[in-house]
Symmetry: C2
Subunit: 411 residues, 2 copies
Amino acid sequence: MAGDHYDKLETRDPQEREREFFGRLPDLVALALSAPGWARHLAGVDPNAVTSRAALAELPVLRKADLVALQKATPPFGGFNVTAPGKMQRLLMSPGPIFEPEGKGKDVWGAARALFAAGMRPGDIVHNSFAYHLTPGGFMMDAGAQALGCAVIPAGTGNTEQQLEAIAHFRPSGYLGTPDFLKILLDTAVKAGKDTSSIERGLVSGAALPSSLRHELAARGVGVLQCYATADIGVIAYESEAKEGMIVNETRLVEIVRPGTGDPVAEGEVGEVVVTSFDPDYPMIRLATGDLSAVLKDRSPCGRSNMRIKGWMGRADQTAKVKGMFVHPSEVAEVGRRHPGLVRLRLTVARAGEQDVMTLLAECAAPEEGLQDAVAATLQSVTKLRGDVKLVAPGSLPNDGKVIADERPVG
Amino acid sequence: MAGDHYDKLETRDPQEREREFFGRLPDLVALALSAPGWARHLAGVDPNAVTSRAALAELPVLRKADLVALQKATPPFGGFNVTAPGKMQRLLMSPGPIFEPEGKGKDVWGAARALFAAGMRPGDIVHNSFAYHLTPGGFMMDAGAQALGCAVIPAGTGNTEQQLEAIAHFRPSGYLGTPDFLKILLDTAVKAGKDTSSIERGLVSGAALPSSLRHELAARGVGVLQCYATADIGVIAYESEAKEGMIVNETRLVEIVRPGTGDPVAEGEVGEVVVTSFDPDYPMIRLATGDLSAVLKDRSPCGRSNMRIKGWMGRADQTAKVKGMFVHPSEVAEVGRRHPGLVRLRLTVARAGEQDVMTLLAECAAPEEGLQDAVAATLQSVTKLRGDVKLVAPGSLPNDGKVIADERPVG
C-alpha cells in the first residue's frame, strides 16, 4: 500500500506546505478578527505579519480549558465563531460542557485522510460506532466517510446485539470507533454466533490502544490504525500503514509548546499540542489542546511528508494545589522568563513531615553566583509559596512534558 | 402564514401534478426494472404503459410485511435497490428487522416540506430528538433541516439532562421528535430549573398525538404539527397550519387500497396506504405500508393543492388465526373477486360455545337467488374453513378499513 495516498498534497515538499500555510494564514487571522471573541483575544495583532512559524508563535494560545467559561459568558461559542449558529450545519456538545459547531463544508473535521490511510476506499461499507447524539465523534467520521465515498452504517454506541445484526446483514469491511468497543463487538459476536468476518480493518480513536490489544485485534482479522482528534478541531493526526507515529493532517498546523506557555519546544521535546485550523466557520488559531505529544524526526516511510507526532502522551494541564494554593504551569514558565539563563524547569511537589514541599529543578549551562537564591526569590514572588531550587545540567530533566510533577502519594 | 409555501409545486393545479407524476412514472418503472428484485416483482410489466392511476393500480403491491423475508433471502435489500449498497450514503435498520438505504441525494426522505409547513425557516436552530443510531428517523429530519437551511442539534434519544443543557445553551426555536418526549423534556426542565422557553414550534411523528396533548403543549408555548413517515419511504404526508388532515408530500404518489388487495377504494373510504416514491437509488413502486388511512375530500385551506389523507388510522394487517388456521385479508378479497356483484366484504371472527365462528358480511345491491350459498361455498374453498354469509345493503358496513374484524375476547 506504500505510495498510495489520498492526494498529492500528502507527499509534497514540506517547504511547499509551509509556504501554502503561511501564505493563507494572514487571511485566516483577518477572517477570525471579524468574530468578537477573536478580536478580543488577538487584540492588536496585524494579520499581515503572521507569515511564519516564528510570527505565529508570538500570538497568544487559546486554552481549551478556558473555553468552558468563555462560552458560558458569551454563548454559544465565546464569540469565536465567524458564522452565525443558525447558519451552521449542526450544533454539538462535549463533556465539559464545551460546545462545538459543524460548519457546512465537506468533511470539515478532516477525517477522510485518516480513513484513507487506514485502508478505507470509495465504495466500502463502514460501521461507525462513534456516537452521533450531541457529541461530534459520530458525525466527524461520518462526514469523512461520505467525502471518501464510503457508505456508513451509523451504529453509534450501545445496542450491541442490533449492531451485530447490522454487521451480519450489511457485511461492512471497515470499523470506526473505540478499540475497546471493537473488542466487545467481536467477543459478543462469538458468544451470540453472529458473523463479523467481513470486518477487515478499523480506524480507532478516543481511547488508548495498547500494543497487546492491537495484536489481538489483528490476530482476529482486523488491522486497526489510530487517529488523534478533538471535538473542536477534528482529526489532528493519524497513523498510516508505516505505524511510526501519527502524521499531521494536511489541513491543520501543529505546534508543540512548553505547557503553560505558548513557546514552541525543540524538536523531539514533549510538550502541549497547539493547533491552528483553517475552518472558515469556526477558525482556531493556536488552540492549546491540553494534550501532550512530541514531534518525531524525519519523514514517514509511507511517503507522507508532513510532520509526525507521537500521538497522545498524556494531559498537559498540570495545575497542582500546594498548601491550599493553586500553582499553574504558566507560573513556572514565568519564573523561567525572568531568568533567561535557565533552560527547562520542572517543579516537583512532594510530602515531607506531613507538609507539602516544592522543589524547582532548573536546567542551566553556566550558573552565575547567587542565581539559585535569586530564582528561589522569584519562585516565591510568583507563586506566593516557598520552595527549594536546584540547578541541574541542561538535558538532565526527563523529556515527559511535565512542568509540574506532582509526586505526592494519592489518597 | 397562509399563502406561505415551500415552493410553487405545493400550490399547482392538481392535474398538472398528476401529469408530471405519470409522465415520469414510465422512467421510474424502467429504472426499477434494472434491479433484480423489481424485475422479479414486476415481471412482464411494460414501463411505457404505466401512465395513469388506473394503469398503476394494475401493478402488484409490494407488502412491507414481506420485505423481512425478501431481504433475508437476498441481502441487503431484497434486490429492490438500483444503487449498490457501497454507493449509498448510509445503511440503516428498523425493527423487524427491515433494512433501509439512504441515497446520496439531498433530502432523499423529503422532510424539508414538512418542516417548512410546521413553521421552520432557514437560519432556525432545531433540536432533533429522533434517534440517529441505526434507525432512519434522526437522519430523515436532519437531512430535511439541512435542505431547508436550519442548524440541527442532533440530540437523539435519551440523555434528557444533557439535551436540556444543549437547549438552554443553543436556544433552538424548533423541536423534532415524538410528542411524548417533548412533554418529558418540558416536564423535566421545570423540575431541573432549565430554560426551554426558546422552543416555539415542533414537528412531531412516530407516536399518536391526542388532542389533549397537542393542547397542553400549545398552552406551554409549543405549537406542534404532525407528519406521517415510514423508514423506507420517508415523509409521506404532513400537517399544515390548517390542521385539516395531512397533505401528501410532493415527491410521493399515494393510493388507498382495500387491505389485502391492490385495488383502490372509493374516495373517503378507509384502506391501506400504498406509496410510490421517486427515489433513484431505492425506488418504491406501490409499497403497501400496512397502515390504514383515508382520503379527505377537497383542498386544504392553507393553499396546498395535493391530496389530503387523514393520517395514521391503525394497522391494515388483519391476519387472524381461526380454528388454528391463518385467514388473510387477501383471501377475503379473493372471495369478492369471484363474485363481482359484491361490493365490500367484512369477515367477523367471534367465539360461540367455546368455538371460533366466522361470519362474512357482504354488501350487495341486488342479490341473485342462491348467491348467499354460493358465497359460503367460495369462502370455504378459499379459506378451508366454514363460515356463515350475510348479505347486507351497500354502505351498511362501517368505514374503518377492516376486512377481518376479530371480535373474540382477548386472553
